[in-house]
Amino acid sequence: MPLLTLEGLGKRYRQGEVEVTALHDVNLSVEEGEFAALVGPSGSGKTTLLNIIGGLDSPSSGRVHLNGIDITALSESELSDFRLLQLGFIFQAYNLVPVLSALENVELVMVMQGRHLHERRERAEHYLQLVGLESMMHRRPAALSGGQQQRVAVARALAAGPRLVLADEPTANLDSENATALLDIMHRLSHEEKTTFIFSTHDPRVMERAERIITLRDGVVEGDERIEQHRHGQ
């Protein structure tokens, strides 16, 4: 049974007098452990699709099943809990809480999950170590570079033990070196932790590392390609 199933997903919204179709009849399934990229030009519906999968936005039609739960049927507070327990998020920018240190940022989701101090501290330190930030865990975001901040976001997303990590253009604000490093970390952890990643991008460097490329254009799935050789190439 796939981890994620999208059935006839559509999203329409009004922009002034005009009705815009952001997504149209999207049907997809994602297996556990996949490292999938959503690609397409700006306005193709990548962020809208990620937001709907993440329970941040609701579809106009269709269903989203994640881990056996129809998230389109959940109430707002249930969705909030669903995100807390099942999902990890990495955004393009402004990913961290500025008043918390890297360690505290990673711990925050686990605090909300109700995990004990000892457990969450151990996990937070472990994941910060995995992303190579063990020496900077007590720094606040302002004292970290953009690339380091995104790595903290990756550590936060994984430390909470999600079934699925959604990353919306995670490398968009990073230079080439940092983008590559971040992708390497995400890819490695996806395998080590057996965590499913779906990330949107129009960055060719990111696409190179994806094991599956889902192409969106004007809200419609234009292509869905599995690239097995990349998995072994890394």
């Binding site: 993440g54 249930e78 809990d81 402004y94 990913n95």
Partner: protein, 425 residues
């Protein structure tokens, strides 16, 4: 999914709120300063109000009939010279048995006509024990001519400078004191001016004639009283501790013959003064309300601004799984901490100002050159600010609740943020 999972322990909530509060250090300090200044102004304004009111009350009690008065029933409503306590000796003994913590002064108060060859004026004759009556002690320093009464001064009287002018009386002048008698005819006694006082209170200076108890009792004898039972028109009771007033009043009510006598406190004796203070207090509350409105807007501005500029961050927190409820609590905690800090700093600043003026006083004599007499009493020209513990609690509660409530709107605003829209900003 029905069970609520999102948790945020209070320690984490407060730690986050505290750090958020100091995110813009300068803004928070400016807000706290404005609240502290507002608070200090409120403390000073209430302290001056209470200080001047209490000064008026203390003077009114000393110049008037004490904290508690025991007098014939019906005298307050319709004073008349024939309403007196015939057996003063027994009443004095009964009161003495209570061992009241204070002094008990016998008084004979009569409505009379004071006349000289030049003029006649209506007057209040007050027969007192001149040696230790608080009224005597209060007026003695205000004597501008002559001397105070000796205990054996059987005909000596003291009058105010206003009355002296009207009667064209001087030291040593003879003044005929006349009083109506029940039944219609009148009686008169001859007094001699021993001294003239100037209290700055027109009601006293124009109207009051003070004599020894013996002189005033002569009129009661004329009403049929037996002087051997030491008749009085009232006992004025001055307490050492005003807080005990209710307790002593009820004890007095138990021992006196309530069919013919009443025990009244100063508030019952001087309802106009109480009313004046209530109205004046209302004015102070208006000032307090204006200060509070400024303070509240200051806080709303600070917290709301900090909420609006963190829209994206709140969106992130919501996306990560923080519930609306916790986000609301977080912003509310920021207001709570701001309010607590404001109250503490406000009390440090306001308390220091209050303590200074409670010790040194504020000299209003230059502002109130024409005198501070009001409602038959007067305010000391130097006002020492006063704050009772009840006032401290009241001010703390008012400032705390109003600053705290100013955080409600920003908190609701934060909780309404939808993550997808917030993250788009």
């Amino acid at each position: 999914m029905s069970q609520r999972h999102s948790r945020l322990p209070l320690t984490v909530l407060f730690s986050l709120a505290w750090r958020n509060l100091w995110r813009h250090r300068r803004r928070t300090i400016i807000t706290l300063s404005s609240i502290a200044i507002g608070f200090a102004l409120a403390v000073l304004s209430i302290g001056i109000g209470d200080g001047s009111h209490n000064s008026m009350i203390r003077n009114a009690i000393k110049l008037g009939e004490g904290h508690i008065t025991v007098q014939p029933r019906g005298y307050l409503e319709a004073p008349a010279n024939y309403k007196y306590v015939a057996d003063g000796t027994t009443l004095a003994q009964q009161i003495a048995e209570l061992k009241i913590n204070g002094s008990v002064q016998p008084r004979v108060s009569l409505q009379v006509l004071a006349s000289t060859a030049n003029n006649s004026v209506g007057a209040a004759l007050e027969g007192i024990v001149s040696a230790d009556d608080p009224r005597a002690l209060m007026l003695q320093p205000m004597l501008v001519e002559g001397r105070w009464l000796h205990s054996d001064d059987s005909r000596g009287i003291l009058i105010g400078d206003g009355m002296a002018r009207k009667l064209k009386a001087k030291l040593g002048s003879k003044v005929v004191v006349m009083a109506g008698r029940q039944g219609g005819d009148s009686q008169a006694q001859l007094g001699r001016v021993s001294g003239i006082f100037d209290s700055k209170v027109d009601e006293l200076d124009d109207f009051l004639v003070i004599s020894n108890l013996g002189f005033a009792r002569l009129f009661l004898e004329g009403e049929g009283a037996d002087l051997t039972t030491r008749p009085v028109t009232r006992y004025a009771i001055f307490l050492n501790d005003e807080a005990e007033m209710t307790q002593w009043k009820s004890q007095l009510r138990e021992i006196i013959d309530t069919r013919s006598m009443v025990a009244l406190d100063w508030q019952e004796m001087m309802p106009q003064l109480v009313q004046f203070i209530v109205i004046d207090d209302a004015g102070n509350y208006v000032i307090l309300s204006l200060i509070l409105i400024l303070v509240v807007f200051g806080i709303v501005n600070t917290v709301l601004m900090s909420v609006l500029e963190r829209t994206r961050e709140f969106g992130l927190l919501r996306a990560l799984g923080m519930s609306r409820h916790h986000l609301l609590l977080l912003v509310f905690c920021e207001s709570l901490l701001l309010s607590l800090l404001a109250v503490v700093i406000g009390w440090v600043v306001g308390g220091a100002i209050h303590l200074w003026f409670a010790g040194h006083g504020i000299d209003f004599s230059a502002l109130i050159a024409e005198g501070t007499a009001i409602m038959g009493t007067f305010m000391d020209p130097i006002v020492y600010t006063e704050l009772s513990s009840a006032r401290v609690l009241q001010l703390t509660a008012i400032i705390f609740i109003s600053t705290l409530s100013s955080g409600i709107y920003p908190a609701i605003k934060a909780a309404r943020i939808t993550p997808v829209e917030a993250l788009r900003t």
